[in-house]
């Protein structure tokens, strides 16, 4: 019946630009009522931008949206919600200190004589909770902060229903749910579409995409690649559509076999709240790339190794000796360095001069009352000057506060910071994020130079070309685990297969040995 109908929501030739990037380029998609439509793509493909455009959080630069056949535009998400388009973000929009009822009817409370009609509010909340099948699970007067993630999600859905939404957009709805909770959500989504609702969701989990969706839209680099019927495509085909890009960037040469030395770092069965059974070896002179989609545990892996959020079980061996690494200081003491993803929040001291930024880890290992050398250490008094030349920071002076440097130069300062502490194990998390092309290439070269000088490098990146272009070995993560390891030069497709928890050409077969993992989430 759905096919005979008009699309309930349609994007026609939508383009959205952000400074320096075209997030969506001439994208047209139709969403049918009574259907589940999945949107898939790599990190940065434009999925979130599309969702936000549909929900009125962004306005398109070009193109039009049609709702039930008529052109619409929104100035505010509230307008989209009133029309009947609701969105549920990964981070819920609920007020934790308020009750379920207050959240669902926020700003629309039924009133009598100018005051909130509590009885009516409870009745209406009860009714809408019933529609999501949660009336026995969730009390209307429970405070939201006391609810589980799954229950909060149901409250969000109930809120959407209370607006009589005809389109429900969900961003990674199952990311934080346990198996039985996913089942509850699946049943609910089936019920919603049976009533004619259109459900659009983003997901990285192919099991669910193929279980739930009728249609699948693939985005890549802001382009609409294809929209296919789920039962007419295989996961492999979808992955092929998600990837496949020319390696047009220049990358330095990979390591020769004789440049790779002894094992510098080994993790054996490392686990903590977010990581499961991680085993990994890192050799001197080698760059190991870590790939994985958002939420796969990439950054958590780096944080665990570096003692920020340490492993709670398993062992870490540094140059063959077992070492407990419970704090970053312990890691630095073992000559490890960590170039973090979020420079501003974790990498730099914005108000401090360049030289104090660079010398911070060196000084952290020294006695508190030791007299400082301004531009270096007792052994190397000119250390900072040398490093600034080596990594080529463009600065008027090494006394310059780093807040006044450009992003690329700040990143070089962060790198110099670890060079100063003479690391021989270096972890990079998104080393070139938000950096312009020129600076990118020079950072890539520096990373390779370090490896050639005998540093063991672990490089986390969400950019497949970077991982492929730089890595001597590629470790792929999925769902807090290492889902596989690939040799240098592996293709994007092979990586995406592992990164989506899906192994080649097993459409329905349960991948071994991680079958339970697949079902679990």
């Amino acid at each position: 019946m759905a096919n005979a109908q008009l699309p309930i929501l349609e994007a026609r030739n939508i383009t959205k630009r952000f400074p320096g990037v075209v997030a969506l380029n001439d994208v047209s998609i139709q969403f049918m009522p009574g259907e589940v439509h999945a949107v898939v793509g790599e990190n940065g493909a434009g999925k979130s931008t599309l969702m936000k455009l549909l929900a009125g959080a962004y306005t398109p630069d070009e193109g039009e949206l049609f709702f039930q056949g008529s052109s619409i535009s929104f100035n505010h998400p509230r307008e989209a919600q009133e029309v009947g388009i609701s969105i549920i973000y990964q981070e819920f929009n609920l007020l934790p200190e308020r009750t379920v009822a207050q959240n669902i009817f926020l700003g629309r409370e039924p009133s009598r004589y100018g005051v909130v009609d509590q009885r009516q509010l409870m009745r209406q909340t009860q009714a809408v909770l019933q529609r999501v099948g949660a009336e026995t699970m969730i009390s209307p007067d429970a405070e939201v902060k006391t609810l589980s993630i799954a229950q909060q999600q149901l409250v969000e859905i109930a809120k959407a229903l209370s607006f009589d939404s005809k389109v429900l957009i969900m961003d990674e709805p199952t990311a934080a749910l346990a198996t039985h909770e996913v089942e509850i959500l699946t049943r609910l989504i089936h019920k919603l579409i049976a009533n004619g609702m259109a459900v659009i969701f983003i997901s990285h989990r192919f099991t669910e995409v193929f279980d739930l969706a009728k249609m699948i839209t693939v985005l890549k680099d802001g382009q609409h690649v294809a929209t296919v019927a789920a039962d007419a495509a295989t996961p492999s085909q979808v992955i092929t559509m998600m990837v496949g890009r020319e390696l047009d960037q220049y990358f330095p040469e990979l390591a020769r076999a004789d440049e790779i030395g002894a094992v510098a770092l080994e993790v054996v069965n490392g686990s903590n709240a977010k990581l499961h059974d991680i085993s990994l070896k890192l050799r001197a002179g080698e760059i190991v790339g870590v790939s994985g989609l958002q939420g796969s545990g990439r950054t958590e892996l780096a944080q665990a190794i570096f003692g920020v959020e340490p492993f709670t079980s398993g062992r870490i061996l540094v140059k063959g000796t077992e070492r407990p690494i419970k704090t970053p200081k312990a890691a630095i003491n073992l000559r490890m360095g960590f170039v973090t993803e979020d420079r501003k929040a974790e990498g730099i001291f914005p108000n401090q001069p360049l030289n104090d930024n660079i010398l911070a880890p060196v000084r952290a290992l020294q006695a508190l009352l030791r007299r400082i050398k301004r531009f270096g250490t007792a052994e190397k008094p000119q250390l900072v000057l040398e490093l600034v030349q080596q990594v080529d920071v463009r600065t008027p002076s090494i006394q310059q506060e780093v807040q006044y440097l450009s992003g690329g130069n700040q990143q070089k300062v962060v790198l110099a910071k670890w060079l100063a502490s003479t690391c021989d194990i270096l972890i990079f998390d998104e080393p070139t994020r938000g950096i312009d092309v020129d600076a990118k290439a020079s950072i890539h070269e520096m990373i390779r130079d370090l490896a050639q000088a005998g540093t063991a490098v672990l490089m986390i990146s969400s950019e497949l070309p970077e991982v492929i272009g730089m890595s001597d070995r590629i470790v792929v993560m999925w769902d807090g685990r290492i889902s596989g390891e690939l040799p240098a030069g592996a293709g994007e497709e092979a990586i995406m297969h592992l990164a989506t928890g899906h192994q080649e050409s097993h459409r329905t077969a349960v991948p071994e040995p991680r079958g339970e993992g697949t079902l679990e989430l």
Binding site: I348, P350, N351, Q352, A364, R370, T395, P396, S397, L405
Partner: protein, 332 residues
């Protein structure tokens, strides 16, 4: 700025002098203007003995401010210092018990009490994650209560002369100025130690890093919790020293230190410290304290009533922070 590529590029003399002047904290200019103002009212104040008197009176606040700066720079406040000062005075009068030979061990005990209070402040902030404003406000009330309980509500005992010498004694004969206050000697020694610790050792740089970006500090291997505790301990030690000087100067008074915590914070801000941490200088903070004291003297000379002091102090805090925020925004 980023396009300038060469490091250590030769600048013209004019540029150097200009940038040198710009990097001088405005507090020194303010201080000089205030001293000139005092001089126009009564030139006697600018004679060596007048200056020494001003320094002697300002010494407790100057020392206290230098200690407070350690906490402010690391991203906190220490409101408990005033009540540590009061408790020092009360404790000294009760423990010395009119026997001058007790003074020396009593001073050690007072430092012990102060350090313990500072360590508790630091532990509350570092490990229990109590915001420093609340933790030290609690400490302020607790110590004030403890002090009052100890004295039974009224000042008792008196301070022996050897104890009071630190605050009101003079070294004589001294050439040129004839006599030199012990308080100023204490001020010079303590300031020198704190300037050295803050500006010439690892400690200061790590405190700045913690206040500037605690997350990055942790990832650079700095023990953020330990650094915060050290900062509160330093502040508490300066409070005990300030208390000893104040006791010598003013005698037994159960609220000898009341209000000093806010004066110290205002003075540090006047000296260019940023209230959320990451920026500050000990000499400038000390100059800020002296400027505040000079301002009070000037207002006094101008015949303004005492309550106006508090009002002016409030306006200064607002003005200084607004100025810092404004100039910070402009330079970005």
């Amino acid at each position: 700025m980023a396009q300038l590529s060469t490091i250590g590029q030769e600048k013209s003399w004019r540029d150097r002098i200009l940038s040198g002047l710009r990097s001088v904290s405005p507090i020194y200019v303010v201080l000089i203007l205030l001293l000139i103002g005092i001089g126009t009212q009564n030139p006697v104040f600018l004679e060596p003995s007048g200056i020494l008197n001003l320094l002697r009176r300002a010494a407790p606040l100057m020392i206290l401010t230098a200690g407070q700066l350690f906490v402010i720079v690391s991203g906190g406040f220490d409101l408990s210092v005033g009540s540590i000062m009061s408790l020092t005075v009360i404790g000294a009068s009760l423990l010395i018990n009119n026997d001058p030979t007790n003074a020396w061990w009593v001073i050690l005990v007072l430092f012990g009490i102060g350090i313990v209070a500072g360590l508790i402040n630091g532990a509350l902030v570092s490990y229990l994650k109590v915001p420093s404003l609340i933790a030290t406000l609690g400490m302020l009330l607790a110590l004030r209560g403890a002090g009052l309980y100890w004295t039974g509500g009224a000042p008792r005992g008196y301070l022996t002369d050897n104890f009071r010498a630190f605050g009101r004694g003079w070294l004589e004969p001294v050439p040129w100025v004839e006599r030199f206050p012990y308080a100023v000697i204490v001020l010079i020694v303590v300031s020198a130690i704190l300037i050295y610790l803050f500006h010439y050792t690892n400690l200061g740089r790590q405190l700045l890093a913690v206040g500037d970006n605690p997350r990055a500090a942790k990832l650079a291997g700095i023990q953020v919790e330990k650094m915060r505790i050290v900062a509160f301990a330093v502040s508490a030690v300066t409070a005990v020293i300030a208390g000893i000087l104040q006791g010598g100067f003013g005698g037994v008074n159960p609220d000898a230190g009341d209000g000093y915590e806010l004066q110290a914070i205002s003075a540090a801000v006047l000296g260019g410290a940023v209230l959320l941490g990451g920026r500050g200088s000990v000499p400038a903070a000390i100059a800020g304290a002296l400027a505040l004291e000079a301002l009070f003297t000037l207002l006094n000379l101008l015949g303004l009533p005492k309550p106006l002091r508090d009002a002016v102090q409030g306006l200064i805090i607002i003005g200084a922070v607004a100025y810092a925020a404004f100039s910070g925004r402009r330079s970005r």
